[in-house]
């Protein structure tokens, strides 16, 4: 299915009731060089708009919010091992986590690509 976006600069794709979540290329550019990623534990319950992961650049730490309610079913250890992937492949291989969706209606209010590009002023 198509990719959706949040105002907190996460992207999300859904397959079989599971959302794959990452941060947008725009967000990665704003962060600068990522040097550390703190991922949630598998099995953790997350809530839309609450902190789910933390990404640290040379300059600062930034929260990554869960875009949807659910349970963490997988995390991408590749970005923990090589945080620079977040800069080089933000909307591809550098996904953060997979969330088993508890409340699918929360997807409805998310932006599509065109709306997100407009949102960030592209």
């Amino acid at each position: 299915m198509s990719v959706k976006f949040t105002e907190e600069h996460e992207w999300i794709t859904v397959e079989g009731g599971v959302a794959t979540v990452g941060i947008t290329t725009h967000a990665a550019e704003q962060l600068g060089d990522v040097v550390f990623v703190d991922l949630p534990a598998i099995g953790k319950k997350v809530e839309k708009g609450k902190e789910a992961a933390v990404v640290e650049s040379v300059k600062a730490a930034s929260e990554v919010y869960a875009p949807i309610d659910g349970e963490i079913v997988a995390v991408n250890t590749a970005i923990a091992d090589e945080p620079s992937l977040v800069n080089s492949d933000a909307e591809g291989g550098a996904w953060f986590m997979k969330i088993k969706i508890a409340n699918p209606s929360q997807l409805d209010s998310m932006m599509d690509r065109a709306a997100y590009d407009k949102f960030v002023g592209k």
Binding site: G32, D33, V35, D38, V58, A60
Partner: protein, 373 residues
Amino acid sequence: MSETTLRTPLYDAHVGLKARMVPFAGYDMPVQYPTGILTEHTWTREHAGLFDVSHMGQCFIVAESFERAAEAMEALVPADIRGLAPLQQRYSQLLADDGGILDDLMISRSAYPGRLYVVVNAGRKEQDYAHIAAKLPKDVKLERLDGEALIALQGPEAEAVLAALNPEVRNIGFMYFKLLDLAGCKDVHVSRSGYTGEDGFELSLSAADAVKLWNVLLKDERVKPIGLGARDSLRLEGGLCLYGHDIDETTSPIEAGLTWSISKPRREQGGFPGHTRIKNELSNGGLKRMRVGIKPEGRLPAREGSIIQNAAGREIGKVTSGGFGPTVNGPIAMGYVDIAHAAPGTPLFLLVRDKAIPASVVKLPFVPNRFKR
């Protein structure tokens, strides 16, 4: 309403280089250029990095003689100013009466008679100038150099780059300066000093000359522009204090580990604000806390404000600067700890998002300084 942000003479140059501009100390400054902080940091360690530091405050202290100006300045700072050789520069601190640090600064014996050349932090300059002007005797004046620019060229190739413009730069010793002609710019104040832990130079010159020299230097393939982000990671690896973070009005130069900047006779004789506290902290048992280097285990950076605990879990201090050291290739931090825990090798914990991260006290700097002594 936000106040108007100021621009340095190199603002257009930064925008032309597609820098990301951020407000810093009242100025619109480049935090990084498109290549990013890690690349800029490493480039400076290996080649030559060009920094715009024109936001910093430059001024002259003017008197009938050098001796008179030095005497007046010694009443405000603990360094040996009267002992400055011609064209020599020293690092010192402007002190409050209780020994707290109002700012840290560079003081040089100017090439012009009866003058000291002083560089202070951007975010403190208005307070500093007011403080200094109020404390100086009537026959000694502070003369602001607001129109002047300041650029820094730092790194192992900085000397060769500048020597291509004027070989005389090779004869400037660490913490000395010369007035030199560079690429058609007359009487540039070329000081061998900096804020990266690398050999390098700071160049004070007119706004128009700064734009000209900036562009000449960037034509050299050994030189790249470096933003404030890498300036911060470089100075942190170099164990250098950032005012408002590692030092402030609550910390003394002794607590901050800056005792080396106070000459032995002045430690004894005083004659500067805060001498009572400083003398006490230098005596047995007088020092209660100390700035130390801290190396967290693992990869997670501990930022400014993180609580430092001893091995038993008791709070013993706070991180004052912390982040990722690109050359160290891991997290590094500085902070104040209770003196009983200040020895290198002491195990600590840093609280990061409610997790206690094991860490230990280490000797500063994290990356050996490569000043040209």
